[in-house]
Symmetry: C2
Subunit: 353 residues, 2 copies
DNA sequence: CTGAAAGCGCTTACAG
DNA sequence: CTGAAAGCGCTTACAG
């Protein structure tokens, strides 16, 4: 026998009709075949090293057992664990994932979407949602089973899985207030991104609820969830809000940028400035100082998103929104504010205004 | 028209036979069809929003236009850029990637391999090679087109793309020697991994070539390319080799572990100890101190691996080994050794022996 | 230049 | 319980 064995090869070897071989090989239809025949077919399949051709099966069943995953930027440390979780959850149910980076670029995003559609994916996991997202709206109009991971659209189109940001932000604000901070700044992520938007909203809410004055708690919007944007936002804060003693960064990458800018400005973290991140990405604990942040299990998030999607594909009704528990991880980057006067560095920085 | 339009729908709308519609739609066969007919078919396809079913085409052509990518750990920051590069190179040629995490686990690895085979992938990119790798040997025996990315097997089975480690290590050793270091330690990655093995070999070679004494340049083998292993290896070095003034870490993650362990031991980097990493992963420049390391373009590496694979699939002969250029990026973590006596901290650390 | 037909490797109603 | 046949949506030699 040359080449990869097919069902016909197995049927011939087992001396049965291909239809019978197919039924014997398939768990769900096996009961329709006599045990003796099943035995012969299985033995033949085993002997030949037969693996069903998933492409042919997909064509016939009109189900590719394949899922498209759209990631905005795999280089952002929070997404790899999500991808892992997705695979973890897909694989035991016989599904496989196509993964594409979209780079927050409409063209690349659409290209990936269409390539995956042409490949007959049974559904999509979008980890790249913006609050107003044309492509996702389109997927909704086309009735394609989909789930949103991490970020969501303003309109409730598809089921959505994310960490409980509101709870995370409350824990952060509470932690800082308990340390004695009264002037806390927030560097928010882009506001067309639901995470950036929601965390900023929660921040404004909880800061007020914990008795801080709105004026003392400025929100600066970063251009992106990255270190550069975090750095330049920090410079703005140091310049315009010298009374601030704690910065809550919209995510860990922004926080890394904050730490860098503080170092550059000679502002010591945590003595002169506390810093909090969000996500607890892999290296957060290895930074100097190690980063206080809110942990969300990306793997769990991905796994849950995949589970919801598979249920949706199978026609099972499920909850539309899953908020995963989050946990504040206190490390070295937060401390009580320095009592009394501003540090020398902060004074100098303020004097330069 | 309900549901996704098929070729038959297009043919009917254009009033031609499906075979003709197929030829008109396909660039390579279009010249066999009269321009008028091509026009009608294209118009009909456009009007219906027709996209060819890649699964059906794959079945018929015996070519899925699909590639399997095996990544040992997507959470390791060097792999996401590689995946990006792979997609970058695949997509314009009409290919799409299945991606799986293997976690250096034989079982998961094999499961992914078989799932991808069942999906009729046209080839594999293995970024998870160990020097002696059963699964890759098996792929070779089966004659499956494949390319190794980053790591390789000892036996030359498939084409291989990687950074020029030997050159990178030479640049590192040269840099440290020029700074005045005479006692340099290397924390090598696992020796069943070609990168870990080759870098250690190169280190031993160049250290000698640059006139350092073998005895002064110990090599400690880390259990894994991660921070924990880097940390414990550092403790060993501080304990057993107090004269060492520079550590070359097998990769950046190990280097992060080194920095942490030094901080914990009160050894100042770079004043008391220089540290060099390898790979220039995304956060290397944001560490404190920022990390001197060797930059390899993961994206370029992935793109090249995909290109080699597609050529192999197309039956084009290509070079078997591509070494990409590397570049030493000097940052804050390296400096001349402190002259004269050991620092107090190092003395104390040595005294504790 | 176009049509008719076979076939890629499966699954699954339909008979018997 | 098993076989015969149709068909998923394409492509492509083969005629004409």
């Amino acid at each position: 026998m040359v080449g990869i064995p097919t069902l016909d090869d197995v049927a011939r070897a087992a001396q049965v009709h291909p239809g019978t071989a197919s039924r014997a090989l398939n768990e769900e239809t096996r009961s329709k075949v006599s045990p003796a025949t099943v035995g012969r077919v299985l033995a033949a399949a085993d002997r030949l090293g037969y693996t069903p051709n998933a492409v042919a099966r997909g064509l016939r069943r009109q189900r590719s057992m394949t899922v498209g995953v759209l990631i905005p930027d795999l280089t952002n440390a929070i997404f790899p664990p999500i991808v892992r979780g997705i695979e973890e959850s897909l694989s035991p149910r016989g599904f496989t994932a196509f993964v594409a980076n979209t780079d927050n670029d409409d063209y690349r995003e659409r290209r990936a979407f269409e390539a995956f559609r042409a490949r007959q994916v049974d559904g999509f996991i979008f980890a790249n949602a913006r609050r107003d997202h044309g492509l996702i709206q389109e997927a909704f109009n086309l009735g394609i089973p989909s789930v949103l991971a991490n970020r969501r659209t303003d309109k409730s189109l598809f089921p959505w899985v994310a960490g409980d940001d509101d709870d995370g932000v409350e824990q952060i604000v509470k932690h800082l207030v308990e340390l004695g901070h009264t002037h806390v700044a927030h560097i928010a992520g882009p506001q067309n991104n639901s995470a950036g938007f929601a965390r900023a909203e929660s921040f404004r809410h909880f800061v007020k609820q914990h008795g801080l004055r709105e004026l003392d708690c400025p929100v600066v919007i970063a251009d992106a969830f990255d270190t550069e944007s975090g750095g330049s936002a920090t410079k703005q804060i140091l310049h315009h809000f010298p009374a601030v003693t704690a910065i809550f960064a919209g995510n860990d990458m922004i926080a890394v940028g904050v730490l860098g800018a503080l170092r550059e400005a000679g502002v010591h973290c945590p003595v002169d400035m506390s810093v909090v991140g969000f996500n607890d990405m892999p290296l957060a604990k290895d930074l100097a100082p190690s980063l206080t942040t809110v942990a969300v299990s990306g793997q769990q998030l991905g796994a849950m998103a995949a589970t919801l999607l598979l249920d949706e594909i199978a026609g099972v009704d499920r909850e539309r929104t899953v908020l995963l528990p989050v946990e504040l991880v206190v490390r070295e980057s937060t401390a009580p504010p320095r009592v009394g006067a501003l540090s020398l560095a902060r004074q100098a920085s303020a004097a330069r205004e």
